[in-house]
């Protein structure tokens, strides 16, 4: 077929030059070149199809290695793995089938790479846990054996078999065998694939100029990486600009902010945009295109800026929980304050003051109430206007309350301080000390059960000797006695809620967790990454954290970006759509269906001397979702690595006559 050669020739004759270190002057031209390169890389369809056919013809002589994991006992306690191995060994093409306690361990991986060399394997199946955990691990092992890593199939016999069919070992064993048989079926139809390599734009966008954003930016810049830092307000520093002293160092928040702002301000690698908002994000890892709008002065003209960045760090932070009107009499009684309001009050008091005066009244006693807007329970707390209950712990309120309670007792020893909590979570380094000190300083602690939070009422006239507010609690420390206290002031230990970044979440297709905060891929394996490659999480955008934890999380995000920028190019999975130009008629149904802007377009090209319109895939933008495959009336588009014929082969594999002993159950019957 002539176009294939043309295509190859084009590759060699017109090398696409790209500068990947510095942002080019002409951003548009840069992106155009990248898209051109991506197009050439992605347009694999004809060669891939031919290769697949070739491999199918050879499939009679395939040598497949199957590795079945016990996962300690997570799998083998239910699935008879020896039986699985014994059975799949009989399937034509299977050269070896082995069982290992942990295939993911080093010895397990060694077995695979050794067998590829020793037994001449050309296909590998691993049946273990979810591919989400270890598909990449085994691709690496296969590659170390010298095999193309895409001639490997992963079968999930833990989440989908042993954990799902715990009470049906025979059925689970049968299902495992059939799933492996499906993978073997697919392997008869696969072709080697290569990762898509795209240039890497060595500059990061940091969204948010709070301490997480400042830390991530200064870390990257300190490593020689250029950063664009976009802050929505007119000042860097975030919530800490309105804070007093920070625990556990007891240094002023301003000092901490100034430290970070100086590090950012003095670094020529960082460009800071204040009063600016990221309006649009498109593209992919190594090549994100972002549009930023800035309005430096209140009445100034709106300025627009486009930039290309390789990575995006989400340091968008949190919002303090604002109690609903009337929640613990907030906004009903002026003497009910949130913690940020109380911190402001304490900051406004002169250092020489000997009493705390609020709204012209001398404050004689203060109550602090924990878990306001946090650890909320269904049926106990009112959901907020968006219907959300904040069931999580906000992590910082306990120690903040202890710190402030202690500060009140230290500065104004005449003020009585009462603390209403369900647990004291002073978990961090130096935090328990606040608890001990607050106790010694005479703070009185009451403990309620989460199901029965204290009631706050206005003290009936005539009984307001102790204070205008009455707090009634069933105190667990005195075996559930109901106690009522009068106080002059109530401080609500308000927690953290997710920032308002709905537009970015939608634009960037980010996942949010049950708690409404941005969701990482895996808390331990990929703790600062999200499903969209190249987007990283820093700080409280991900969930409540204290200052030290936020700074560490920002460093963790920065180091991932730095690692990403260590290579000249980024490598993407080859699972992208590919067009069969012999079948495509340029009707563009696929383009209409495509959800990823720019991933598919209709272009003019020459096929057999004729100028025609055909669909074209941009590999960087294609998410491999397959929506295009379903709508093409000519079957002219398919997904590399997940082609229709491969799916058919998997179905055949499931339904095939499995050699060996019968293995089924009443609960599961696949015939």
């Amino acid at each position: 077929m002539s176009y294939q050669n043309d295509h190859q020739g084009q590759h060699e004759d017109e090398p696409v030059e790209l500068e990947c270190g510095e942002p080019g002057r002409d951003e548009e031209a840069y992106v155009r070149k990248q898209i051109e390169l991506a197009r050439r890389q992605a347009d694999l369809s004809p060669s891939a199809a031919i290769a697949a056919q070739q491999h199918q013809e050879d499939s009679a002589s395939l040598r497949i290695g199957v590795y079945i994991c016990r996962c300690g006992g997570n799998i083998s306690d239910v699935v008879d793995v020896e039986r699985v191995a014994e059975t799949v060994r009989l399937i034509p093409g299977v050269a070896t089938a082995k069982v290992h306690t942990f295939v993911c361990s080093d010895p397990g991986q060694h077995t695979i790479s050794d067998d590829i060399l020793r037994e001449n394997l050309d296909r590998v199946v691993v049946a273990s846990c979810t591919p989400f955990l270890h598909e990449q691990t085994f691709r690496g092992a296969v590659a170390r054996g010298g095999m193309n890593p895409y001639l490997y199939e992963h079968v999930n016999i833990r989440e989908q078999v042993s954990w799902a069919h715990r009470h049906d070992p025979a059925g689970a064993t049968s299902k495992a065998i059939r799933m492996i048989s499906a993978a073997i079926g697919k392997l008869r139809h696969v072709a080697p694939l290569d990762q898509i390599k795209l240039p890497n734009h060595r500059r990061a966008l940091v969204i948010g100029g709070g301490i997480a954003g400042l830390k991530a930016a200064s870390d990257l810049a300190g490593r020689g990486i250029k950063v664009l830092l976009v802050e929505i307000s007119d000042k860097l520093g975030g919530h800490l600009n309105q804070w007093g002293r920070v625990y556990p160092s007891e240094r002023a928040a301003e000092e901490l902010v100034a430290d970070l702002v100086n590090a950012v301000g003095h670094n020529p690698n960082i460009e800071v945009l204040l009063s600016s908002k990221v309006k649009a994000v498109s593209g992919f890892i190594g090549n994100f295109k972002v549009a930023v709008e800035s309005q430096p002065a209140a009445n100034g003209a709106m300025q627009k800026l486009n930039a290309t960045v390789g990575a995006i760090i989400m340091a968008t932070g949190f919002r303090p929980y604002i109690p609903q009107d009337g929640e613990f009499l907030y906004r009903t009684e002026p003497s009910v304050l949130t913690m940020p309001e109380f911190v402001q009050l304490m900051r406004s008091v002169s250092h020489h003051a000997t009493s705390l005066v609020y709204k012209d009244k001398n404050v004689r006693n203060i109550a602090f109430l924990h878990c306001v807007g946090s650890r909320q329970l269904d049926g106990v707390h009112e959901p907020s206007t968006d219907g959300r209950l904040n069931s999580y712990c906000s992590r910082t309120c306990c120690t903040t309350i202890l710190q402030q309670a202690l500060a009140v007792r230290t500065r104004f020893p005449q003020i009585g301080v009462f603390d209403f909590n369900q647990d004291i979570r002073a978990y961090g380094r130096g935090e328990e000390d606040y608890y001990a000190q607050a106790s010694r300083a005479g703070v009185v602690f009451f403990r309620y059960n989460g199901e029965e939070p204290p009631r706050v009422e206005i003290t009936p006239a005539g009984r307001a000797k102790d204070g205008a507010l009455s707090i009634t609690v069933k105190d667990a420390l005195t075996w559930g006695q109901e106690l009522t206290l009068g106080v002059d002031m109530l401080v609500l230990g308000t927690g953290m809620i997710p920032g308002r970044i709905q537009d970015l979440i939608e634009q960037m297709k980010l996942a949010i967790g049950e708690d409404g905060f941005l969701q990482e891929v895996h808390p331990k394996l990929r703790p600062v990454e999200v499903a969209v490659s190249g987007v990283l999480l820093a700080g409280t955008a991900q969930g409540p954290m204290n200052i030290q934890e936020t700074l560490a999380a920002a460093g963790a995000a920065a180091v991932k970006a730095a690692s990403m920028f260590a290579t000249e190019s980024v490598e993407l999975n080859p699972y992208v759509a590919a067009v069969d130009l012999t079948r495509c008629t340029g009707e563009a149904q696929c383009v209409t269906q495509c959800d990823y802007e720019g991933a598919l377009q209709i272009v003019q090209m020459e096929v057999d001397g004729e100028l025609v319109e055909r669909a074209q895939v941009n590999a960087g933008l294609c998410a491999g979702c397959g929506a295009c495959v379903a709508v093409c009336p000519h079957r002219a588009i398919d997904l590399n690595g997940w082609r229709i014929d491969q799916f058919e082969a998997m179905v055949d594999g499931i339904a095939a006559d499995i050699p060996g002993r019968e293995c089924s159950s009443e609960l599961v019957s696949i015939h």
Binding site: F102, C104, D106, L133, G224, L256, A263, G480, P523, A552
Partner: protein, 437 residues
């Protein structure tokens, strides 16, 4: 013994400790193209985490999370690993460091050993397996555990009967009875201290009488009992192999207690106890499980929900401090609780057949004795910088994970990344300055 590494090897960074913190730091540096040496005093990398059963709050099996990181470290082209090696001292001058190492003899030449385990199978001397917390047995020469890295046999001189069988069966002649300790000095520009933690003794509180009953166990012992590949494959109590039917978790048994010198919170015990209680209720559906606590500190992402789920599963949470534990007949234990919940029985005696004491975390290594790194009053590495939580008092030396105070795995991994970032910045700036000169 890895003989390929000698004093001429000059890594960009040296990591003290091959647990999860050290491995994550090392990977985050090596991925940036920097040369990294990981020094681990045990026979395998993986630290405490590789011995755990499952980890909260996702209940992933710990091996499934740890082994890929161990394996990635072992195969990384920019990384070298020295096991059975201790850091004796660090001397720093002008921001560069000389790290004095002591490589302990393993009596096996690692360049020759192929991990075939023939020596292990042939050895007829056994001793209580430290990896299984003494519950199983291990041969005097053995690969440390199933998924250990490196997969090399190590001979325990303290238990070896010097019969010579291993040397006779070894197909590669790797056994070297005459191996001597080896001193090695490595020069490097950056160091990350990831020396981890240890747990204080079960017997730290004499009123709990842990020395008088084998059924008062450490949480890590329960981890091994719960691990699917653990010593028995199920949960049996140590004294008589009985399946326990009433299990007590005693929180803060080695923390938040000024009388034992550990006033701070160990930060992980609440959550791992809840996790173990959940796993136990799966393994022993009929057992009563009680957690005695002062505060439940379920502060991390997804932790509070995990706690609420445990309550819904029927695990008993009793707010009360355990005062005393006494062994009683039949191997059981009488637990005296100062309960704050019931006015009629403020001091209650409850009978359990297995008690788990939540030990406290204390430092695994005291670098202040032999390095320029200062420790704080809690014994952990001091981190005085306001905006760099992983910087120590010594320039060019950073700290990650529980070496800087108790921490769970999630927070450890984040901090390990931050330490790597700090170290790579330090290296970059140091070298930029050199170029500028």
């Amino acid at each position: 013994m890895n003989t390929q590494i000698d004093s001429n090897y000059r890594p960009d960074a040296l990591i003290v400790g091959g647990g999860i913190a050290g491995l994550q730091s090392a990977l985050d540096l090596a991925d940036q193209g920097l040369q990294v040496l990981v020094v681990e005093r045990q026979s395998s990398i993986g630290g405490h985490m590789i011995a755990l059963s499952k980890v909260y709050p996702t209940l992933d099996c710990a091996s499934c999370i740890t082994t890929p990181k161990m394996s990635a470290a072992a195969h990384h082209p920019n990384m070298q690993i020295l096991t059975n090696t201790e850091v004796e001292a660090i001397e720093s001058r002008d921001g560069a460091h000389q790290v004095r190492l002591l490589q302990k003899p393993t009596y096996v030449n690692f360049d020759k050993c192929i991990g075939c385990r023939l020596c292990e199978y042939a050895c007829d001397t056994e001793y209580p397996d430290p990896f299984e917390e003494g519950l199983g047995a291990v041969r005097a020469i053995a690969v440390p555990f199933t998924n250990a890295i490196p997969q090399k046999a190590v001979l325990d001189a303290g238990h070896c009967g010097t019969c010579g069988t291993c040397a006779r069966v070894c197909p590669t002649g790797a056994i070297e009875f005459d191996q001597q300790p080896r001193h090695l000095t490595i020069r490097t520009d950056a160091v990350i201290v990831a020396s981890g933690f240890q747990l204080n003794a079960l017997t730290v509180k004499p009123q709990f009488n842990a020395h008088r009953s084998r059924n008062i166990i450490a949480p890590i012992t329960l981890e091994r009992l719960l691990a699917p590949h653990g010593p028995y494959g199920r949960v049996l109590r140590p004294s008589d192999g009985k399946m326990p039917s009433s299990i007590a978790f005693v929180q803060c048994a080695g923390s938040r207690d000024e009388s034992i010198g550990v006033p701070y919170c160990s930060r992980v015990c609440c959550m791992y106890s809840i996790k173990q209680a959940m796993l136990l209720s799966g393994a022993l559906p009929l057992a009563d499980i009680t957690i005695y606590y002062m505060d439940i500190r379920a502060f991390g992402k997804g932790y509070e929900q995990f706690y609420q789920n445990a309550k819904a599963m029927g695990i008993n949470f009793v707010r009360g401090k355990v005062a005393r534990i006494h062994p009683v007949d039949g191997g059981d234990l009488a637990v005296q609780v100062e309960s704050t919940e019931n006015a009629e029985t403020p001091m209650e005696l409850r009978r359990h057949d297995l008690v788990v004491l939540a030990q406290g975390m204390i430092p695994g290594w005291m670098p202040a004795d032999s390095t320029p790194v200062a420790c704080a009053s809690d014994g952990f590495v001091a981190t005085p910088a306001l905006t760099a939580p992983t910087a120590t008092t010594a320039p060019g030396i950073f700290v990650a994970g529980t070496a800087a105070g108790p921490k769970d795995i999630v927070d450890t991994i984040a901090e390990a990344g931050a330490a790597a970032m700090q170290a790579s910045q330090y290296l970059y700036q140091k070298r930029s300055a050199l170029v500028a000169v």
